[in-house]
């Protein structure tokens, strides 16, 4: 199956792209994506514990199962507004 993966802010910078399509095996979860990114760039794993993931605009866990056409995103810690 094919999913879209989006990278924002520091993740965007780290991976040097804002979005990509990934071909995943049936039964893939969010973790499948995280592992694949770690293969490409091992340092990213250090940040997984402070990062959140979303599937179809909803916060998800590593174990969230994916289906064809899902939109997955890596969400670094958020900040709204100014530091106020």
């Amino acid at each position: 199956m094919k999913v879209t993966v989006k990278y924002f802010a520091v993740c965007h910078e780290m991976l040097d792209r804002s979005e990509e399509e990934m071909q995943l095996p049936e039964g893939a979860t969010v973790q499948t994506i995280l592992k694949r990114l770690e293969e490409e760039w091992p340092e990213i794993a250090e940040f997984y514990e402070v990062m959140q993931m979303s599937v179809n605009w909803e916060y998800a866990t590593e174990n969230t199962e994916l289906t064809e056409g899902d939109e997955v995103a890596l969400i670094p810690p958020v900040t709204g507004g100014n530091n106020v």
């Binding site: 910078e13 979303s54 605009w57 995103a73 969400i75 958020v78 709204g80 507004g81 100014n82 530091n83």
Partner: protein, 147 residues
């Protein structure tokens, strides 16, 4: 109204969105770009958002407020892109029959916005350095250099 925008925020958008003849209290919050963070001079800020998810999360915050206070008139807008010192990054408006609830709900909206709405800030310091920051600490300050 729950919106990510690249345009200047005037406040009128959110205020008009919550105006109602039976709501006597309107509480507005504006976050503006400060000229410094903890004393270090700022040149400008860049905001990035995940717009569809950000707008969905703003709506969820409004639903939470509706459940907690019975207030149904909430609007939020957040700007993205490059913002200069003094410009408004975020505006929240809450209209309510009574002001105490309005203050509480508006403050709650801002707190939740910081927690769950996917928006990121890149601080460009006056000395030319830049970094992605989160509210209380520099995030990924010592990012390993990519080769």
């Amino acid at each position: 109204m729950f919106k990510i925008t690249t345009e200047v925020i005037t406040g009128a958008e959110v205020r008009e969105a919550v105006a109602a003849p039976d709501a006597g209290a309107v509480v507005l919050f504006f976050g503006t770009v400060r000229n410094n963070t903890d004393g270090r001079p700022t040149k400008y800020l860049e905001y990035e958002a995940y717009p569809p998810m950000a707008e969905k999360k703003m709506e969820e915050i409004a639903e939470e407020i509706s459940e907690k206070w019975g207030i149904h008139r909430v609007a939020m807008i957040h700007r993205v892109g490059r913002l200069e010192i003094g410009e408004v990054s975020v505006a929240v408006a809450v209209a309510s029959p009574h002001r105490k609830d309005g203050f509480e709900a508006c403050q709650y909206a801002m707190n939740r916005l910081k927690q769950i709405v996917p928006i990121w800030k890149r601080e460009v310091w006056a000395d030319g350095e830049a970094e992605w920051v989160k509210p209380d600490a520099v995030f990924f300050e010592n990012l390993p250099e990519r080769t």
